[in-house]
Homo-oligomer: 325 residues x 2
């Protein structure tokens, strides 16, 4: 890891092995590697930011892999280079990942202009997201001009992915025994479009009905931007129907947001929000590893749990111990 | 504020003026008062924890005031002493509060065993919540055995209130042009019961239909406790129907949770979670007021926003500046 400048140049030249090596560096937990990774990212930062970042989410079974495969092949035909990354909360538990698996996207996996990377392992969603976000920057520096970050439709991971992309696409099914699947989790508020997949054959009328329900529900929400009414579209990834329209919609979105200055503004906010998330994470680490704090934290936590000390007093004591240096 | 022990004794004796004085101390922002308030809370802590803490939420117009008035009068008749507090996010913006207003609950306001306190002003929801939570403890020490914390059905404030009570009751309307009002905000996951108010007259069949929809939707959620299936009930606060059943349900809940050890366990978790929230808030304050950090934070944030520095490097530099003491 002595020559970061050389590695940066190799990533910039689009060399796949170097990109993989750089990602390994980002994912490493060794302190030396962390420092080298930061240096690498700083070096590459001027070459990022030219890609379009697309988040894709949906529950297992919604057809994410099929959609991304068809969508990705279309983009490749148009001359794009695409990277597919994953933020998968299950990789925290299993060490493995149900997303980003190359065998799920056989066609794409064979294409030299498509780069597929499974979700990094991590002990926290924050850790997984940090690595994915930095991997995204590496891919951009390596010349991938469309980045897809996929996640599963469960809880916080969708909000995390939405905070790192330009456009967040929510895949849904019609009539999965629960018309409200997207609504009940509050994720509709963060979607830039809702796409009802498997709108094919007998399922088409139900999909159209679901689409109308989503349109109605979307009107109840405060829009994220005054310049974008979140659409609900139909698609059949399996039969390659409605996929072109998704890409056209994303291009429209990007053009509209750029026209109104919101594209750059959103990225600025995302970057500073991200900085503050990291600061708070690192600050917490610093605090928990502080010798004085570590010596008393278990006892204080127990006395709060058992009602001997108020949370306020406990907090004040811990902070005073932390400051005592 | 020299004699905290005396004030604590007066609060314990149930003196209303002393309770009001103690709350003013809690709500004060002066550092001297903060210290005295902490001392007071520590003194009173052994006398808290005997009350039942009930959170009540619902959108404006759902009939919260009417319900709390009828519900509260019933509890008073049974010999309880009740305190009604509010966590109102609007009090951050307006300085005033749309909740906890005594004129909204005319009957209760005249009762000597009912204590109504409007939402404290505060610049953040965290600040408002902190004061409300500590006021709750003061009321418990003063002998109020049922605490009602009300909030409005918008965003984070419901989650905040749920984190400080034993039982969280969500009030809903049938057919308010949106059957999904409770569902779309993800708040159903935190409710211990759903109560459809205004189930009266012509509205009754619609209320019954809505109830069935909620029951169906509730079955889709992972239960918070294996020992409690969240019920959906009907009520007409205006006509005093179904209100007794709510109290009976809460008693059942408390008995069931106590039987399985979950009642105490939940309070323990709430207390330690609360401690960590305070620690993180205070740690952030300490960080932002650090001289070295304050001297560079604006410039670093700008360089992150404009893509000159990565969030990781920015975070690392800020932390290094913080540690340089």
């Amino acid at each position: 890891m002595t020559n970061i400048k050389k590695l940066a140049d190799d990533v910039r030249s689009g060399n796949i092995r170097s990109l993989a090596k750089a990602i390994t560096l980002i994912e490493s937990r060794s302190p030396d590697h962390t420092k080298a990774a930061a240096e690498l990212l700083d070096n590459l930062l001027p070459d990022t930011e030219n890609a379009i970042r697309i988040g894709i989410s949906g529950v297992p079974g919604v057809g994410k892999s099929t959609f991304i495969e068809v969508f990705g092949m279309k983009l490749l035909q148009q001359g794009h280079k695409i990277a597919i990354l994953a933020v998968d909360p299950s990789s925290q538990l299993s060490g493995g990942s149900i997303l980003g698996d190359k065998t799920r996207m056989e066609e794409l996996a064979r294409e030299k202009n498509a780069f597929i990377r499974p979700s990094p392992a991590g002990t926290t969603l924050g850790g997984v997201a940090r690595k994915t976000r930095e991997t995204m920057l590496l891919c951009e520096a390596a010349g991938y001009d469309i980045i897809i970050v996929e996640t599963v439709g469960v809880g916080q991971s969708e909000i995390t992915v939405a905070s790192m992309v330009d456009f967040f696409l929510l895949l849904q099914l019609a009539n999965a025994g629960d018309e409200l699947q997207g609504i009940k989790k509050g994720v509709m508020e963060i979607a830039d479009a809702i796409l009802i997949n498997k709108a094919e054959g007998d399922n088409r009328p139900r999909a159209e009905l679901a689409r109308q329900q989503y349109v109605n529900a979307l009107h109840l929400l405060t829009p994220k931007s005054y310049h974008w009414q979140v659409p609900a579209l139909l698609c059949s990834a399996l039969h390659n129907q409605g996929v072109d329209e998704v890409w056209q919609m994303i291009l429209d979105f990007v053009a509209t947001m750029k026209h109104h200055g919101e594209f750059v503004e959103k990225r600025r906010l995302q970057a500073t929000d991200w900085m503050w998330t990291l600061v708070m994470d690192d600050l917490k680490e610093l605090f928990l590893h502080d010798k004085n704090v570590a010596a008393m934290v278990d006892q204080i936590q127990t006395s709060v749990a058992t009602g001997i000390t108020t949370p306020s007093t406990a907090s004040r004591r811990l902070l005073e111990a932390f400051k005592r240096h």
